[in-house]
């Protein structure tokens, strides 16, 4: 195609006009930052999980699925059953994420317990670091969220998460994950999983609230986060976590 300088400038000029119209439209229709009723700076959310209280009923998994319309076969939270031999060899099962509880154990001679899992809402999150478009981020109140209008669906974050907490939504084709029920906790409710846990094995906590039970929990118990060597500054604390849990 032959193109002389005059044509080039004409095309350039047209592009400029189109771009400036686009910019103006974006400025007019762009979304506003969150409203002021809820002060993000006053909160720093996390969760505490007491392994010795979990009965593996799967109430949290069903509640999460109902609350967040999680697609079938995908999980934002799930429960694992660990059965550990004396040699330290673990056997882990989580049938359908424990959506319907657990079948009877095959052996009774093993050390066994349940471990509820979910996004650890890391303060130094690997998933956030790898996102090429700024579609996943840690909110000012400490919740790792996904901007589904900006997510490309490249799955870098799915690979980067050391805890396997992310998946590609089969219909939206964007990454989906636990939001710590951000739509609930910003309205003064607890998360769906914590609301429905019959034994209070999991509790939503706010580290910035001086009256929150988390401070006594951390002071009085032996706690651990999952994979501390990953240095992700995870904010889901487990009480009496066995060394075999990954």
């Amino acid at each position: 195609m032959d193109i002389d300088r005059r044509d080039l400038f004409k095309i350039g000029g047209k592009l400029l006009v189109l771009a400036s119209i686009g910019a103006t439209l974006e400025q007019l229709t762009g979304s506003e930052p969150p409203s002021d009723a809820y002060k993000m700076a006053d909160h720093w959310w996390g969760m505490i999980i007491d392994i010795d209280k979990c009965i593996g009923c799967g109430n949290c998994v069903r509640a999460c699925s109902n609350e967040n319309s999680v697609p079938d076969g995908y999980f934002r939270t799930w429960v694992e059953r660990y059965q550990i031999e004396e040699s330290g060899q673990p056997h882990v099962d989580s049938p359908d994420g424990a959506m319907h509880g657990f079948p009877l154990p095959t052996r009774a001679d093993l050390k066994s317990f349940f471990v509820p899992k979910l996004c650890n809402h890391c303060a130094d999150s690997p998933c956030v670091q790898v996102c090429p478009v700024g579609a996943t981020f840690v909110s000012p109140d400490g919740v790792v969220l996904v901007d589904e209008t900006y997510c490309l669906g490249c799955r870098y974050c799915v690979q980067a998460c050391p805890y396997g907490c992310r998946y590609l939504h089969p219909e939206k084709n964007t990454v989906d994950k636990c939001t710590l029920c951000y739509h609930r906790i910003t309205k003064g409710l607890t998360t769906a999983c914590c609301e429905n846990c019959p034994t209070q094995a999991r509790q939503l906590v706010d580290f910035k609230n001086p009256k929150d039970p988390v401070h006594a929990f951390l002071r009085e118990n032996k706690v651990e986060v999952l994979k501390p060597y990953m240095a992700t500054r995870a904010k889901v604390y487990y009480k009496d976590l066995d060394g075999a849990v990954r």
Binding site: G12, L15, L16, A19, S20, G22, A23, E26, Q27, G30, S31, E32, P33, P34, M40, D52, I55, G56, C57, G58, N59, A63, N66, E67, N68, R81, Y82, H100, G101, F102, L104, P105, A108, S112, F113, F114, G134, A135, F137, V138, S139, P140, L145, D147, E148, T149, Y150, T179, Y182, H183, R184, T186, K187, L189, A192, E195, N196, P198, T199, Q200
Partner: protein, 149 residues
């Protein structure tokens, strides 16, 4: 002026035009308020917050059903949330006529928590349901809202 200063002015104009184009395109493609809290679009926070609520929560349930709430608070199930067994009922809380709660299926509901499993805490009440009830439904003996014999 230098001799042949046009050689400098013309590239400078091209550079300025390029810079202007860069700024305009940047303004067009970068979302409003991007970077206000970090390297992301703050509007995404509102987007996530707009999700509808499915579980109304304990406090909402007992506003109307305070009789059941009191019975339950006195028994072993004091800390079991209503919707933990009855399912998500925020729609029912908004308008009781819009959604009528279904009775939970006792045959599967109780054993999810109370079937014996070595992985459960030792002090948690557990039974081998097949031996315990001989097929009878749990609520033929136990009151689910205050489970004493």
């Amino acid at each position: 002026m230098f001799r042949d200063s046009g050689h400098l002015i013309r590239p400078a104009l091209v550079f300025l035009a390029g810079l202007g184009m860069f700024l305009v395109i940047r303004a067009a493609v970068v979302p409003k308020h991007f970077g206000q809290y970090g390297h992301y679009r703050p509007g995404a926070l509102d987007l996530v917050r707009q999700r509808p609520i499915a579980y109304a929560g304990q406090d909402t349930c007992v506003m109307c059903h305070d009789d059941v709430g009191k019975t339950r608070a006195a028994g072993k199930h004091a800390h079991v949330a209503c919707e933990g067994c009855h399912g998500p009922l925020a729609k029912h809380a908004d308008d009781p006529a819009a959604l009528t709660p279904k009775l939970p299926d006792v045959a599967t509901l109780c054993v999810r928590c109370h079937e014996k499993d070595a992985a459960k805490p030792k002090n948690f009440p557990q039974v081998v349901s097949a031996e315990h009830s001989g097929g009878a439904l749990c609520n033929s003996c136990h009151q689910p809202h205050s489970p004493q014999l």
